[in-house]
Symmetry: none
Subunit: 199 residues, 4 copies
DNA sequence: CGCTAACCGAGACGGTACGTCCCGTCTTTAC
DNA sequence: GTAAAGACGGGACGTACCGTCTCGGTTAGCG
């Protein structure tokens, strides 16, 4: 669904311009008014584009929303590379960096606005479900690895199941952000790590 | 927003009849087609009622959906009463009962269909947010109490923060149910308890 | 396609109001901007009615135009009844009355604006063709009868074919109105009668 | 509006090629689907030409249709020249030749398809009106002249107004062709001549 | 023969009208 | 007085064309 490859026959540059402007506008519209109230005409206006141009590149509203939200899943890949959270520090410190990053993403726009919509959409539509599951699996893998490393090095109890622990940690952050009036701030993340990984 | 009290001036029995049928139908519609695709006409048809009758009792679609989903928040109160999860068994066993109950609720219809919608709606609308936060706080309080009891009795480490632990546990179940292709079955709940409360 | 009968279950009076207002507006729109440029939204606005109300009673633009123009075919039936053009005067005088009436209809709005459109539509669509042929046959029958009477009474030459004569007369008026810059005024009609029926 | 002259600076032959192909295609499209349903894209496809090439030579749809139909008005001028219908035979015979030619034109494609469209267009647009009036005046002049000759030679009654008679005859043929289910065949033309010019 | 200018196809673009769907309001009629 | 039926105004949707535009590729006709 993402068309980032440079196609051979030198694609019309207007196409890229329009597509980018529309995707950006769609994300802004989504953050502003949510899933309900998302109007194609508003997106076109935000993008400074004709309504028909939107429909030329996406068949309908659902497809545009899907593509716009898909863009969100790609950004974090460029986030905590092998540098930070990579090798330096104790496993606990590295886990804290990863969790804090997740907490930040769930607090700041526009991801904060998109995740609940993704969760909802995933309940009904196959495509969204796969995207959400894939996205969360990708994010959580690194955390699981860090915990496994900590278990191996004796920093964490040998009985700790890295998989279950990473679910508890990630889930805890999500829960705090979505189901609770308080945001998952640094203090909360620290307490969560204490509870799951031991003090 | 809920109209369950029996009004004094001998309310027409047809009213209660219609109200209940419509709420039931709204829930069924919601489970069937989700938030998008929820049509007032379908609800009326499911309830065997005229479209205008729906609007006589609820001002608009949002109010009806809210009321129907509110009904879900009340049911679990009749679930694990003071009997099970109350006093019998170890703290670990009682926590497992509570978590398993939550996992069941998130797996079976119609709650399973409503929770993602609630999460999404909470992102945009004040009322839904309060309802969701209240609902989850209510459910989680009992779990936090059980953990605190376990800490007090020495069954769990004295350093364990019951609040953080209950967030990790509840969040883990939610995460598994919503963000993962696998359901939160009994084995998963057991592993989660091991990870957070120690083996 | 005309719904003038009083239906049994006491039809909602708003329906009649809307239908009449819309038909009137459609005719006005047609006279104002012709077939091309005929916009459903303009019709609704002229009728003081919502756009959806138009579509509730007619499936599409073609059907509405057809119905509106059909109304024209009915009006003249109430025109020269058995009174004028009926029995009084010579055959020549009665023919002149009928032809003058036709000339008037082709000169004044809104029929004047509708006939060219009907002719055009008849070239392509079966339904319009039948309507136009029926309409013109109905109008011309009375003229043919009058001429036949004149032939029978010796007022016109016995060799005159009433059918051919009435086509020449009606056609002459149409030709003058549509294919000529000058209107079919009284003098023209008189000259036409002289030419066909003799002086 | 017609660009038939060979321009001085040795025009690119591709231009003439495209223009002719497009005009031919436009006429075919018109005959096939009428005024409504006439799509520029179809014309381009019929002509085996890009859509933009059509717009390079005509500013819009109206201009193309006008030019295509204008071609029809010119052809008949080369039809019954001073040769046939010129001097040979009686006035009655010569009138019959002219009327039969008109009847043929109104029966066969593509003129048959274009005339109703021209009549309709003439009702709304100045340019079309002038074209139609000029076209019909030109065609009818010869008929009027023949009748006047017949009156002068004593073949027709001295009281016959050639102008009115030619309108009755031409109008009769048009009426039969357009407003009647039966075509203006030879028998009809003969009867019409009998009625107007006497037997 | 090679160059330049133009014509050409393909199709993206902004715009407008269409016909559909659904909402929330209202009116009418039956029970 | 409540309910069912459904007409109504409104507004967003997705489709179909229009007429404008930008883009390379090809082709005519001159040097």
């Amino acid at each position: 669904m993402s068309h980032s490859e440079t196609s051979s026959p030198r694609e019309d540059p207007r196409i890229g311009h329009s597509r980018r402007a529309i995707l950006r506008a769609a994300l802004a519209e989504f953050a502003a008014v949510g899933h309900a109230g998302f109007r194609m005409e508003s997106v076109a206006a935000r993008a400074g584009v004709g309504r028909s141009t939107v429909y030329r590149h996406w068949p309908d509203k659902a497809a545009l929303v899907a593509d716009a939200l898909a863009g969100l899943s790609r950004q974090p890949a460029s986030g905590p590379g092998p540098g930070p959270g990579g090798g330096a520090g104790t496993a606990r410190e590295r886990a804290e960096i990863l969790l804090t990053h997740l907490a930040r993403a769930l607090t700041d726009s526009p991801v904060a606005a998109a995740v609940p919509a993704l969760i909802h959409a995933a309940a009904t539509e196959e495509g969204f479900r796969d995207r959400l599951h894939g996205f969360s699996a990708q994010r959580r893998r690194r955390l699981t690895d860090v915990i496994a490393t900590g278990v191996g090095s004796g920093e964490f109890p040998a009985t700790l199941d890295p998989e279950a622990a990473s679910v508890a940690l990630s889930g805890g952050v999500f829960y705090r952000a979505l189901m609770t009036p308080d945001p998952p701030d640094d203090g909360f993340v620290a307490g969560l790590l204490d509870a799951v990984l031991g003090r």
